[in-house]
């Protein structure tokens, strides 16, 4: 998985986001109107798309899109999928 594809998935999900506005260094909690609902959507989106279930603690430990990408990739490769 490439980060560019990961960002594309996120931008398609959040319709308010103008494509191309997110970068690996973007702090996702700085998104306009961020709320705990967005956090749930991130968890569900990653679960649905990559079959990886992030815990609340894991999400909280992430700051940027790149952090999310790394932890998703790590869990995919370690076989910790929805374990």
């Amino acid at each position: 998985m490439e980060i560019i594809d990961f960002i594309k998935v996120i931008e398609e999900e959040f319709e308010d986001l103008t494509p191309g506005t997110l970068s690996p260094d973007s702090v996702f909690r700085d998104m306009d109107g961020w709320s705990s609902m967005h956090a749930l959507i991130f968890v569900a989106l990653i679960d649905t798309t990559y079959d990886v279930l992030l815990t609340g603690e894991e999400l909280k430990s992430c700051l940027t899109i790149n952090d999310l990408f790394d932890i998703t990739n790590l869990k995919m490769s370690s076989g910790g999928i929805n374990a």
Partner: protein, 246 residues
């Protein structure tokens, strides 16, 4: 509520934050407690070794476990249906597995368990059934549609029991609890920022609840003090709903 002495109660979800306190309060009052839950190891040694306490490990979503469990229970004066999960999921991501996960424990298992208790004549006349619901059944929150629906279903089911079993004096009531400081809440807090936690807590005029707040209501509903209450839904929310726009 000293009239619980010698009475026999069954508690599901007994290893959760609320269930555990209900167990402790019952034992303090001389009741005989049978309990089940997911994690026996969280119960302290004092409870586990108490002569009036029996823990029965069971997965309530498993039909074989339910059948085995029923065989170990005596005729009961009261039941707390306290087992449940939250598992939030935004609506557009909901799949059958999410529906099954929530409803199998929050609703299906309770219906099946109640049927078995009735079939096996384990609900004494004038016994009292208490169902642990949530304020979200009427005031849902984003991401919690399935959980809220499962609790709304539970409340409606409890009212059905109240009606069908009234001729035996068996009562059924729901407690609609808001946020209570339990391990589940601690886990939720880990996923929220400090600001988000503060915002949640600030919505409660009396602050968020303690497990004992809920346990006290359970004991009240089990006691003769509530002998004319059935089919009711008791809001325990620290004033949360006073701020509701509904």
């Amino acid at each position: 509520m000293n009239d619980l002495k010698g009475k026999q109660f069954f508690i599901t979800g007994a290893t959760g934050g609320i269930g555990m306190v209900v167990v402790e309060e019952c034992l303090k009052r001389g009741a005989v407690v049978f309990a089940t839950g997911r994690n026996e190891s969280v119960l302290n040694a004092q409870i586990l070794s108490h002569p009036d306490f029996t823990f029965i490990p069971a997965d309530l979503t498993n039909a074989d476990d339910l059948s085995s469990l029923i065989k170990l229970l005596p005729p009961l004066d009261g039941v707390l249906f306290g087992a449940g999960i939250i598992d939030p999921c935004p609506i557009k991501f909901i799949k059958q597995k999410h529906i099954d996960a929530i409803f199998s424990i929050n609703f299906d298992s309770i219906c099946l368990l109640t049927s078995l208790l009735a079939q096996n004549k384990l609900l004494k006349d004038k016994s009292s059934l208490v169902f642990l619901s949530s304020v979200s059944s009427e005031f849902p929150y984003k991401g919690g549609a399935l959980y809220a629906a499962s609790k709304a279903a539970l409340e409606a089911y409890a009212k059905g029991i109240a009606l069908e079993f009234a001729s035996k004096g068996i009562r059924a009531n729901s407690i609609r609890a808001a946020l209570v400081e339990t391990a589940m809440f601690e886990k939720t807090k880990n996923a929220l920022t400090t600001e988000e936690i503060a915002e949640v807590i600030s919505a409660y005029p009396l602050g968020i609840g303690a497990p004992l707040d809920i346990a006290n209501a359970v004991l009240f509903l089990w006691s003769d003090l509530s002998s004319w209450m059935t089919g009711s839904v008791l809001n325990l929310d620290g004033g949360l709903l006073l701020n509701s726009k509904k």
